[in-house]
Amino acid sequence: MFSQKGQITKTRFMFKRLISDKDSVRIFIFLILNIIFMFVEFLYAYLSNSLSLLSDAFHMLFDCVSLFMGLIASYYLKFPPNEQFTYGYNRVEFLSGFGNSIFLICVSFIVVTEAIERFVTVHTIDTENLLLVSVLGLLINVVGIFLFDDRGNDKQQAVPSSQSQNQNQNQTKFKSQDQSQKQNQKQDQSLIKNHKTLELKANLEKSQKKPSNKSNNVFSNQIATKSQNNPIVLPGMNGTNENIEGIWFHVLSDALGSVAVVISTILVKKYGWYWIDPLCSIVISCFIFISVYPLSIRTSKVMKQYVPPSLSHGFNKAIADAKNVPGVIDISDSNIWVLSNTVLIGTVVCIVDEECDLQLTRKMVRSTIEKTHYFEPKNLTVQIQRQSKSLSLINDLNQRTEFGNDKEK
């Protein structure tokens, strides 16, 4: 009795959590639609004994599997950090995007092989049933395309100061996304041409930090504070949610597949060109492969702890500056990596003169490195060590433990 109650409350809780999040609601609705349609198709195929409908139903099964994967990922994304996941669940998003992209690449390969086989052997197609079903599938997938068209784009891009100052004067809140994207591209080009990252970032310091609105139109006006609500996207990284990108590509591929089926059935009816079907499927699988490949590369890079060159360049410069801090002899080890599109993590090991105050040097080193502006203070660890000329410290330890001296506690 009690166990059942616990399960009911658990499911209710999970359901509420699903509904509260924008992304997971969309995926959930679409998954339910797909499951219903899949069962309908299975029944219809069984009753009418057609192979093509069965294969199409299995195709929908694949979709449901990938949608389920995306749903789980979006559900777990918002969890806070744990004992198990000390950095949080950010990576799950990338993994699901990667998985979806590989799924799609595999599907494209398989479709190509089947199409080549179909060139040789001619399959008879039940045109009537298939047309109806494929049109319905197309409708559903088109609905899905418009559902996920946003692609989780609720993050703000970081912007250099010159643009932001002008916009602060104008206070135009309702800029279109295209303009902001073009500006971002221009900014990227200007960044790369001028080699002036640190100057721009110093200018960023001057600009005021107002609380930013959640609407997507307030794009490059203001820089967000470092809160969870409005995270800043790192330069060189993608601004969209990778999970939803993967699902969007999946839905797109389905839509294109059903378009191909519709076209081929119509042409087969009219002219009897049986070779159109495999040709369309080959063309569309090539298109899917080309469109999905960047997503797989992007997510795989993040998995490998990649740092985009602009950030690593800035970091190296910051470390070179940190070596000029009074008291610092050398920075022996520095590591930087990207956790997700918005979070940077770094570690630095500093060697410091013997006669220095550790805390002050630590603070100064931290401030120089945080100049890159994309470090939250929690994510940067700076280890400071005094230079050991000989094994003096080690000998001290030995002496103390051997003779039981506890003086210098």
Partner: protein, 457 residues
Amino acid sequence: MLDDLGFKSYETRPRQYKNLTLQTQISKIFSTIMKHSDTRRIFLFFLINLSFMFVEFLYSILSDSLTLLSDSFHMLFDCISLFAGLFASYVSKLPRNSNYTYGYSRIEPLSGFANSIFLVCVGLLILRESIERLIISVTVKTERLFVVSIIGLVINLIGMYLFRDRTAETKKSSKTKKNPNESNNDVESGKFSGDNGDQFNKRSGDNDSTSIGIKNYVNFDRHMIQNKEIEKVKEKNKKVVNDNLEGIWFHVLSDTLGSVVVIISTIFIDNLQWYWVDSFCSLILSLVIIVSVLPLLIRTFRLLAHKQDPALNANIQNTINKLILKYHCSIVDYKSWVIANNEMVITIHLSAQKNSKKEQIIQLIKQSLQNEYQVKKENITIQIQYFDSHLQNLSNNFNSTTYEYDSNVNSNNKINNNYFNNKNQQNQINSLIFRKLPQKQFTSIGVSVNNHLENWI
């Protein structure tokens, strides 16, 4: 996007063999492939598969059979996946970069993940075909399938033999960026790193130990719970599995099982004409593939998503807390993650009192973690901060809070290259930074006086 195109202004990643001719590049790549056993085996198998694929393709065109053509396309996909595996294992040997500061070793579990997803896909496909054939019975043609499947079986058995040993290579801890402070300790602690079993036996025979104190402290606990520790040692001495090779192994396994299924079904069809055997066996095959690949998928997923064993984390935190109790410190923040092959990276934020010996703490923690949990010293970074109320006046110059994480990056970033606005403040702070610490020459009274003075400043 623009970064991916490789604009040279930010090109800090050194292309491996940029300025050499193509011949020398290829020869160098070839030599590195031949050096390591992983890449050697994958390359061999790739060549075998490629050659048989071409042979089969030609034969299918000459003899005009569809089954041979489809089989050659399957071999093509195997070759592609093998090439991806080869690429992954080659790239994992590359040295560190400014863009990949921990090296490329994480590409191996990534390729294992990709392979497992691919195999799940293939399994679902076979499931689909088998169910279709069960519901709507289709007659299978068995012309020349027998010979082809036997050849495929032989090739895949060769592959199974090649990949029977899927352990990861043990890297010697040699970093390109060396830490001169820690190299001294490494020389001495090198004796402890591999000899976990001997710690039970060795007592005071070690003269040059940085960690005699630690050892006594640690062994006290160990004597209490000896059996569990022995089990732990046995676990640590287990070999680590290379996920890339695992993925290829499962691929090869699925191919062998597929050819076995084809052989069985052809035997049954030729002799007894039971057409359902084919679909039934392929259904079982698909289930076997999916079930066998799931552990790899889950394991690589957890690694790539930074999931750890909470018991291990709790143990590590307990050991650190025990060591730190003496010095009245506590852990403020603990984070860890795993690079491939059980190589852990730990970052710790400690809060300490002002007069505690920070180097001792750092070295104690690092040594104990290396000895017990085999975490490399270079992968541990410890930040020590302390609550200093007496520096609050000065902190206003920095415009930062003294406690916790130097938050309000705003205020910190007002520190420009000069770091200070006034020269007076600069002089004050310079004098503070370069003040002298109490030395051994002082007596105990002198030490206490100096400490009081520090409190006043």
